[in-house]
């Protein structure tokens, strides 16, 4: 398929394709990070993860509408305001959910699956009732939707750059919070020995609540970021959920590094295959490979060997 092209053209395309792969990687990390934090630290699978993302997207939608009508001059920065608001909105909802639902179910992880699934149905219908069944169009600052032309062929999508930047920022922030801050130390203490952590004066319930809120808040940021590349509707969260779960499962579910590594592997595989095959076949092949590897290594790619 490359015979007709000059070297410079091919080089450009490969550069573009590499960039596309990185964007996909960023998207995957952003999707999966919140879920992985909650699962890795608390053993809870949040089936409503997609709906928390969409909450972030709706917050962005409302925020952009507000800026458009109330302060058009500030429109260029509306998106970042929206993103912060999205974090707090999803995080707050997450903490509410933890308080009213999840905390009663820590000993029954399978039941949290069902309860959060129920929650996702309720949220979807709530969005439908509030925002209407149709998708909403999120108006973004004009400067974010363009591209930076480097050469004739190479054009770097700005939204791709932004997604990558956000992902990087969030990942670093999570790493700092988890491994450098006092809160992170508390979280890890609770994960390792809940009773002991409680005994030394850590408010384990509060740690749980904040962890869950953090995971949901990151989902909200992801949703906010995805208004740049995807749709915002009551059931749009479902579009992301399969990929999200696969990334988390494939990464071994317990380590954040595993999640990042798995996001990288899957995104590169998919992006490369998509280039050489038809999109549908690429997706199927990627998924089959992932399942095949999971069959051989169901514990995921990256698990620490520990005494159980």
């Amino acid at each position: 398929m490359f015979a007709d092209y000059s070297w410079s053209e091919l080089g450009s395309i490969f550069a573009m394709q590499g960039f596309a792969g990185l964007v996909l990687f960023s998207v995957f990390v952003l999707m999966a990070l919140g879920l992985a934090i909650i699962f890795g630290q608390m053993g809870v699978i949040n089936m409503a993860h997609g709906e928390f993302m969409i909450l972030g997207a709706y917050v962005t939608y409302m925020c952009s509408n507000f800026f458009q009508s109330a302060a058009p001059a500030l429109m260029p920065i509306s998106f970042f305001v929206a993103m912060v608001l999205a974090f707090f909105a999803s995080g707050a909802l997450g903490m509410l959910v933890e308080m009213g639902l999840i905390r009663f179910l820590y000993k029954r992880p399978l039941d949290t699956l069902l309860a959060t699934w129920g929650l996702s149905l309720i949220l979807q219908q709530a969005y439908r009732t509030i925002f209407g069944a149709r998708e909403v169009g999120v108006t973004l600052p004009e400067w974010m939707m363009g591209s930076l032309p480097l050469t004739d062929i190479i054009e770097i999508p700005i939204n791709g750059l932004i997604v990558m930047a956000i992902t990087l920022a969030i990942t670093v922030a999570v790493a700092v919070v988890m491994f450098r801050s006092r809160f992170g130390a508390k979280v890890r203490a609770v994960v390792q020995n809940r009773q002991m952590a409680g005994a030394v004066g850590i408010d384990t319930e509060k740690v749980d609540r904040l962890t869950f809120g953090l995971g949901c808040g990151i989902a909200g940021v992801a949703g906010s970021a995805f208004t740049m590349i995807g749709s915002t509707g009551p059931s749009s969260g479902q579009l992301y959920i399969v990929d999200t779960f696969l990334v988390v499962v494939f990464g071994g579910a317990t380590s954040l590094i595993g999640t990042v590594a798995s996001a990288f592997t899957i995104s590169q595989a998919q992006s490369t295959l998509e280039f050489f095959l038809s999109g549908s076949m690429a997706k199927v092949l990627t998924l089959l490979t992932v399942v095949g590897i999971l069959m051989l290594r169901p514990q995921g790619l990256f698990v620490l060997k520990v005494r159980r």
Binding site: G43, I45, L101, L110, L113, L121, F245, V284, L287, P298
Partner: protein, 380 residues
């Protein structure tokens, strides 16, 4: 020294007879043919719910991908029926007559090899049970021998369901794609679309379901059933009592898959088509909720749970479609938070004592002596 299992078995037998009377006599008696056909459709989901009671309730293995097996069974049946419907005469306007219409639309010019055996009804009947069981074996073998369980197993099965859906939709030349396999008419020349055929199929379905439940009761009251419960509580203890734990889990998973396949096949027969919307995540999880509403530990309850939720869905969505999702979501949460044992639990803690007080007044009443210590075993 008779273990209290006898009492439990008696209740189960009684419940089974009541259920049999309900689905074979009461429902056909009071429900019009249209609604009876609907009930028949719901009862096909009950196969899955019964399988989940064994898997999840008994053995603690929660699969969020049971729709896979329901769908596979249904597709096997649908392939047979579609081939029967695609005679060269019926399809003569196609560029390749004699193959199913959707293949023709997708430029296939010959029947794919894996469709060929489905010309035979005998093969199809075997496949309905064997194909789901075989896939369950592969999944189960990979997961259970490596000790994957709990939440992790649940999300892997879910991922597999999602993948299978994408595969079926993507390979539409071979599978009918998102439309599924539609327009099924006859079974060995017998028109399955008429009201009388639907009534007959209802009874076939009901008898099969009762048979499956009877078989499941037998499995659960065998030593294997007790090992499953034991394994749910203390997996290591079972392992170090000399049992190959993985083999037991694989068995129960395959068993549940096989009966789900029967349900799927009966669905295809009664509804007249099969589509990938049954293989995906949403129906798979909905089927778990049927089971949970009935009581995850009660085989009989699973049937009532299925009927109740679906009846609710149908009536609710006729009058307040917008509210249905709220109700369904609330049901998920309520069943988990407030009624973890579902209908069966409610029956046991409220109805049965009442019943016992009114009906079985004399001798059998066993009052616990010496505090709570000798509470008789509750039927599982």
């Amino acid at each position: 020294m008779t273990p209290p299992f006898h009492a439990a078995r008696k209740t189960e037998l009684f419940g089974f007879l009541v259920l049999a009377a309900f689905v074979l006599l009461v429902l056909p008696g009071v429900v019009d043919p249209f609604r009876l056909n609907l009930v028949g459709k719901y009862l096909t989901y009950a196969f899955v719910a019964v399988g989940l009671v064994l898997c999840w309730g008994s053995a603690g293995i929660l699969s969020l991908g049971q729709g896979i097996f329901f769908g596979l069974g249904g597709y096997c049946m649908a392939m047979f029926l579609k081939l029967e419907a695609s005679t060269p005469e019926a399809t003569k306007i196609q560029s390749t007559p004699g193959i199913p219409d959707f293949m023709d639309w997708n430029q296939l010019t010959a029947l794919p090899a894996f469709w060929e055996p489905f010309h035979s009804l005998a093969f199809t009947i075997v496949a309905i049970v064997a194909v789901p069981a075989a896939l369950a074996f592969v999944i189960g073998f990979a997961m259970f021998t490596r000790r994957v369980g709990g939440v992790y197993f649940a999300i892997i099965t879910q991922a597999i369901a999602a993948i299978l859906t994408i595969l079926i939709i993507g390979q539409q030349g071979y599978t009918g794609g998102v439309n599924g396999i539609t327009d099924l008419r006859t079974l060995l020349g017998w028109d399955i679309r008429t009201d009388s055929a639907k009534t007959i199929l209802y009874f076939v379905n009901a008898f099969l379901l009762l048979g499956v439940i009877a078989l499941s009761i037998a499995v659960r009251s065998s030593k294997l059933g007790r090992i499953l419960v034991a394994l749910r509580d203390k997996e290591d203890r079972v392992r170090f009592s000399g049992y190959d734990v993985a083999a037991f889990k694989i068995f129960v998973f395959c068993f549940a898959a096989a009966i789900s396949g029967i349900g799927g096949a009966m669905f295809t027969l009664q509804v007249g088509f099969m589509s990938p919307s049954f293989v995906g995540i949403v129906p798979s999880i909905e089927m778990v909720i049927f089971c949970a509403v009935g009581g995850r530990n009660s085989l009989i309850g699973a049937v009532y749970g299925t009927l109740l939720v679906n009846w609710g869905k149908t009536t609710f969505s006729e009058s307040f479609p917008e509210l249905w999702l709220f109700a369904m979501g609330g049901l998920f949460i309520a069943v988990v938070m407030a009624f973890p044992n579902g209908l069966a639990g409610i029956y046991k803690s409220y109805v049965q004592p009442l019943f016992a007080r009114i009906v079985v007044r004399p001798a059998h009443r066993r009052r616990p002596v010496g505090g709570g210590k000798t509470t008789p075993a509750i039927a599982e």
